[in-house]
C-alpha cells in the first residue's frame, strides 16, 4: 500500500546496505542470533471467492468498550476521501472499519495467512478469458444514512479517481488510469461517462485497455468503491465521507484524532471479514513515542485498552516482556531505497560507491531503528516473499559498509570527492542523527557531502520540478510498500519513466518497454519475468539502492483481544480487535 508517509522523512534516511557482520567491536551480530528473526510474509495470498458473512467469530470475543489506538510519529491522513486513500496507515484503518470496496483481505485465524474474500461484491469478480473484462455484482447493502449502495455509485466512485487535478496522488491515477478503457485523456465525471465501465442493474463491468489479472487485488482499494452521486465534492467530502463499514465517522480532526462509532446500517450477514465488537474507536495521531511506550508499560486502566501503531526502539526489550502475545513483529512487503539522481550521477560506479558507503548499522541505530529487527539489510528491489523474487546482488555480494571499496570505485570513475547533496529534517532529532551518520559514512568513503535542512514533506519536494532546492539534490530516497503481492505494484511505480515516486528520475527505454511487455505475458510467466527484470535493473543500471526491508512493531494493552498483524497491508489487523470484558 504505497509509500509509507511519516517514514519518508523520519526514517527515509535510515537504511541501506547490509550489516550482518559489521560489528566487530564486541557487540552481537545482527544476523541469526537477533531476538526476532525476519519472517517472510505470505507470498501466496489465498482467494476464497465464495466466502460469506457473517465473519467467523474470534475466539473469546466480547462486545462493548472503546479501543484507543495511539499512532506515534505519524500525522495520519490529510483527508478521508476514498479516492485519496493510499497510505498504509489510512488504508489499514478505513478499509477495515469504515469503507467497503468490492473485495477485501481476511486473516485466516488458523494459519494467520491473509486471503482475498468478497466485500461489497458477491464474489472476487468474474474475468473473461484474457482478463480484459471483469464483472462484479454488488450486494444489497446500505450507506450509514440508510440509502442503498448501487452499482452506479461504484462506477461514479471509480470515475472520480480519474480526476488528476483533484486526486493527483491517489492510487487511481496509477492503476485505474492505466488499466481501465475510458478513452484517451479522460479526467473523470466532468468529461461524462467512462465508456469502459458499464452498469446493468447491480452488475458492474470494467473493460480494460489490456489484460489486468490483478483486478481482484486492486479492488481491495477504496478507489474501487462507491461514492454517493450527490454531496460528494472534494475536499468537503473528504472530511466526513459516508461510511459503509461497521463503524461510521463521529469526528475527524486532521493530524489529531479520528473517532468512530457503530454504524447501525452495517449488515454483518453481508460481510465475511469484519466485526463490530467495540462500541467506539479513537485513533490519536502524531503521539509522542516515549509517552505511548510508557503508557503501554504502565498497564493502567487506560493502557489496557490501548493499541500502539509503533513501538519505540528504546523500550523494545521491556515492551516485549510486558506485552507478551500482544507484542507483534509484523513483516510486510516494504522496502526503503536511496535513489541517486540518474540524470546527474550517470556513472554506475558512483552509484555503487554510494551503496558501499552507506553505513547501514550506524544510520539505522541513530534513526531509532534496530538493525536485524526492524530493518533488514536489502539487496533486491522486490522484497522477500514476493512471488518471482530472485535473490541476487547488484555488485557481486551483499552491500556492507566498506569505505575502501567505495573509494576504489570512485577512483575508477575518476570522481574522487564526488559531491552528494540531500535533504534531511533538522527538526526531527532522530532524522538528523541518522543524516549525520550517513554524512560521516560518505565522507569517510571519499565523498563530499552537502546536507540541506528541509522540514516540509520531502516527497512533495522531490515531485516539484520547479523547486531550486530539488534542482540542487542528487540523492533522494523512497520508501515503498507493495500494494498487493505482485511486483507490478513495486517495480513500475519506482522505475518507470515519469512516475511520481521514481525519485531517481530513472528512465531507460529498455526497462519501460519490458514493463509493458510483461503485462502481456501469460499469467503464470509474469512473476518470474518480474524477478528477471529486477535483476536486469539492479545489475545493468542500478538506479536505486535498496537499503532495508522494513519490519514494524505493534503492541496492545492486556485487555485487547484478537490482536494480530495484517501481512497484506503491513499494518495492524483491525477487523478482529475487541475489548476483553
Amino acid at each position: 500500500m504505497k509509500r509509507t508517509k511519516s517514514l519518508a522523512v523520519v526514517a527515509g534516511f535510515a537504511m541501506v546496505t547490509l550489516a550482518a557482520c559489521g560489528g566487530d567491536g564486541g557487540g552481537g551480530n545482527a544476523g541469526g542470533n537477533s531476538p526476532s528473526e525476519f519472517i517472510n510474509p505470505e507470498s501466496d495470498f489465498g482467494k476464497v471467492a465464495d466466502a460469506e458473512g457473517p465473519a467467523p467469530e474470534v475466539e473469546g470475543a466480547t462486545t462493548g468498550g472503546t479501543i484507543t489506538v495511539a499512532i506515534p510519529g505519524d500525522p495520519g491522513p490529510e483527508d478521508l476521501d476514498p479516492a485519496n486513500g493510499w497510505s498504509v496507515l489510512g488504508n489499514s484503518i478505513q478499509q477495515a472499519l469504515t469503507h467497503r470496496s468490492l473485495v477485501q483481505f481476511r486473516r485466516d485465524q488458523e494459519t494467520g495467512a491473509m486471503e482475498l474474500v468478497p466485500d461489497l461484491a458477491t464474489d472476487l469478480g468474474r474475468p473473461n478469458e484474457d482478463f480484459t473484462e471483469w464483472t462484479f455484482t454488488i450486494k444489497d447493502v446500505n450507506w450509514e444514512n440508510g440509502n442503498p449502495i448501487t452499482a452506479e455509485e461504484v462506477k461514479y466512485g471509480v470515475e472520480r479517481t480519474f480526476d488528476s487535478e483533484t486526486f493527483t496522488s491517489g492510487p487511481g491515477q496509477v492503476y485505474s488510469v492505466s488499466n481501465f478503457d475510458c478513452g484517451e485523456g479522460y479526467t473523470g465525471p466532468q468529461d461524462g461517462d467512462c465508456p469502459g465501465i458499464t452498469v446493468d442493474g447491480q452488475d458492474i463491468t470494467f473493460a480494460m485497455q489490456g489484460p489486468f489479472p490483478d483486478m481482484d487485488f486492486w479492488s481491495t482499494f477504496m478507489a474501487i468503491g462507491p461514492i454517493p452521486l450527490e454531496n460528494s465534492e472534494f475536499p468537503a467530502y473528504g472530511r466526513m465521507p459516508l461510511s459503509s463499514g461497521p463503524y461510521k465517522i463521529k469526528e475527524f480532526r486532521v493530524n489529531e484524532s479520528l473517532t468512530l462509532e457503530k454504524n447501525p446500517e452495517w449488515d454483518a450477514a453481508s460481510d465475511p471479514a469484519r466485526h463490530q465488537y467495540a462500541d467506539e474507536w479513537v485513533f490519536k495521531f502524531d503521539q509522542d513515542q516515549e509517552k505511548t511506550d510508557q503508557l503501554l508499560l504502565s498497564d493502567s486502566a487506560d493502557a489496557q485498552t490501548t493499541v500502539s501503531n509503533g513501538l519505540g526502539a528504546t523500550n523494545v526489550a521491556a515492551l516485549r516482556d510486558a506485552l507478551g502475545d500482544n507484542f507483534i513483529q509484523q513483516t510486510g512487503q516494504c522496502v526503503s531505497y536511496r535513489t541517486p539522481d540518474y540524470t546527474k550521477i550517470d556513472d554506475i560506479n558512483i552509484r555503487k560507491a554510494i551503496a558501499w558507503a552507506y553505513d547501514f548499522e550506524n544510520i539505522t541505530l541513530a534513526g531509532g531503528n534496530i538493525p536485524g529487527v526492524t530493518r533488514i539489510p536489502a539487496s533486491t528491489i522486490m522484497p522477500p516473499g514476493m512471488s518471482g523474487r530472485k535473490e541476487y546482488f547488484p555488485d557481486t555480494e551483499q552491500f556492507v559498509y566498506d569505505p575502501e571499496k567505495s573509494k576504489a570505485l570512485l577512483a575508477e570513475a575518476g570522481a574522487e570527492g564526488y559531491k552528494l547533496t540531500f535533504v534531511y529534517d533538522d527538526s526531527d532529532a532522530e532524522a538528523k542523527a541518522a543524516a549525520e551518520q550517513e554524512k560521516k559514512g560518505y565522507e569517510n568513503a571519499g565523498f563530499t557531502v552537502e546536507m540541506i535542512p528541509y522540514q516540509e514533506d520531502a516527497y512533495a519536494l522531490w515531485d516539484d520540478a520547479e523547486s531550486p532546492i530539488n534542482a540542487k539534490l542528487n540523492l533522494r530516497s523512497v520508501n515503498w510498500c507493495s500494494d498487493w503481492p505482485s511486483a507490478s505494484t513495486m517495480i513500475p511505480p519506482l522505475v518507470e519513466s515519469g512516475q511520481p515516486y521514481n525519485t531517481s528520475y530513472f528512465s531507460e527505454t529498455e526497462v519501460d518497454d519490458r514493463i509493458k511487455e510483461i503485462a502481456t505475458l501469460p499469467l503464470e510467466d509474469q512473476a518470474a519475468a518480474w524477478g528477471d527484470l529486477d535483476e536486469l535493473i539492479g545489475t545493468k543500471y542500478f538506479p536505486m539502492i535498496p537499503t532495508a526491508y522494513r519490519n514494524d512493531l505493534f503492541g496492545a494493552g492486556s485487555k485487547i483481544g484478537g490482536f494480530t498483524g495484517d501481512a497484506a497491508m503491513s499494518a495492524i489487523y483491525y477487523k478482529d480487535l475487541f475489548v476483553i470484558q
Binding site: A19, G22, G23, D24, G25, G26, G27, G28, A30, N33, S34, P35, Q289, E290, G312, A313, T314, V316, A317, A318, E361, N362, L365, A366, G368, I370, P371, G372, D426, S427, D428, A429, E430, K432, A433, E436, Q437, K440, E450, M451, I452, P453, Y454, Q455, E456, P468, I469, K472
Partner: protein, 311 residues
C-alpha cells in the same frame, strides 16, 4: 567614606555577601567553560562528531553503551558517557551546549538592554508625542505572544536558508538572539522611562538645561549614571531568563537545531529517564545550576545597590 561612589559602596556590600560570591564564581566558571569549550574538549580528546553506535552500543538488547555509564563504571575516554542511539560524546555535547547557551543569552541580554535603555531614556526625557509612540510600541510588543512568534519564525528561516546550509547555522543563532531580544527589551525600557520621568524635574537636570547643556549630553552624562543601579539589576535577572528560554525553545524543536544545545539534549534524553538518568541529568544540572546562580546573584546585586530592600 567621602570619596566613594554609590556603586563602589554597593560593590563593597556585594563582596561581603557570601552567597553572592559563590554564585559569582559559579557564573565565572560557566563563562570560562563556554569561552574555552573547544580547548577543554580537545583536552579530554572528545568531539561532537557522531560516534559509531553499531560498535559502541548494545543494540541487540536495550541499546545502552557497552562501556561507561549507565551499565558500567567510569569510562576515561568518555567522562560523561556517550549518548544512546548516536554514540555521541556527552561531555563534548555538554561543553558546546554551554557555549551556545551563554552566547545566546549574553548577546540577547546586551541587545535587549541597549534597546531598552535608549528607548526608555528618549521616551522619558523627550516626552510628548515621542513618549506616546514609544510607549505604544512597548505595549504592542508586550501583547505579542513570544512563544507563538518563535514557532512561526523557525520554519520561515528554514525555508529561507535551505539553499545555503552553511549560513543556516549562523542565521539560527542570530535570529534566536533577535527573537529573545525583541521580546525582552520592554521591561528595561519601562523601568528606565519611569526613572527618567522622576529624575528629569530634579534640580541638577534643570540647572544643566539652564546652562545650555545639549540634550544628548544631559542624557548620557547626567541621567544615565543615576540609572546604573536599576539597569544592572534588570540585566542580571534577564540573563537567566534567556538561558531558560533558549533551552525551552530547543526542547520544542524551534530553537537551535544545528550544533549543540542543552535543550535539545534534554529533549533526546527525556526518553531515557529510566534507563540512563545520567544522560538527562547532565544538561539539566547545567541549566539549573547556572540559572540558579545567576538569579541569586541578581538578587544580591539588587540588595547591594538598594539598601532599603535588604533582608
Amino acid at each position: 567614606m567621602s570619596g566613594k561612589s554609590p556603586l563602589a559602596i554597593a560593590a563593597g556590600r556585594l563582596r561581603r555577601d557570601k552567597v553572592a560570591m559563590v554564585c559569582l564564581s559559579i557564573v565565572i566558571i560557566f563563562a570560562l567553560i563556554a569561552i574555552f569549550a573547544s580547548q577543554i574538549a580537545s583536552l579530554f580528546n572528545v568531539t561532537t562528531q557522531p560516534g559509531n553506535p553499531s560498535q559502541q552500543l548494545d543494540f541487540i538488547n536495550d541499546g545502552m553503551p557497552l562501556k561507561g555509564p549507565p551499565r558500567n563504571g567510569f569510562d576515561p575516554e568518555h567522562p560523561f558517557g556517550i549518548a544512546p542511539k548516536t554514540a555521541k560524546d556527552n561531555l563534548a555535547s555538554w561543553l558546546y551546549g554551554a557555549r551556545t547557551s551563554m552566547l545566546i543569552a549574553t548577546s540577547a541580554t546586551v541587545v535587549a538592554s541597549l534597546v531598552g535603555i535608549v528607548l526608555g531614556l528618549v521616551s522619558g526625557f523627550v516626552g510628548g508625542a515621542v513618549d506616546k509612540v514609544i510607549s505604544f510600541v512597548i505595549d504592542l510588543f508586550l501583547t505579542l505572544p513570544f512563544l507563538l512568534m518563535a514557532l512561526v519564525i523557525a520554519p520561515i528561516l528554514n525555508e529561507r536558508f535551505a539553499l545555503t546550509p552553511d549560513r543556516y547555522q549562523t542565521m539560527q543563532v542570530v535570529s534566536l538572539i533577535g527573537i529573545l531580544a525583541a521580546f525582552g527589551w520592554m521591561g528595561v525600557a519601562r523601568l528606565v522611562r519611569g526613572e527618567v520621568l522622576s529624575l528629569r524635574e530634579r534640580e541638577f537636570i534643570l540647572s544643566a538645561r539652564v546652562i545650555g547643556m545639549p540634550t544628548t549630553r544631559i542624557m548620557v552624562k547626567e541621567l544615565l549614571p543615576n540609572l546604573v543601579a536599576p539597569i544592572v539589576v534588570a540585566i542580571s535577572l534577564m540573563l537567566p531568563a534567556f538561558i531558560a528560554a533558549e533551552a525551552g525553545l530547543a526542547f520544542l524543536g524551534v530553537g537551535i537545531t544545528q550544533g549543540e544545545s542543552w535543550g535539545q539534549t534534554i529533549l533526546l534524553a527525556s526518553a531515557y529517564f529510566e534507563l540512563y538518568p545520567l544522560y538527562l541529568w547532565e544538561p539539566l544540572l547545567g541549566i539549573v545550576v547556572l540559572v540558579l546562580a545567576l538569579n541569586l546573584l541578581g538578587d544580591a546585586i539588587r540588595d547591594a545597590v538598594d539598601p532599603k530592600t535588604r533582608r
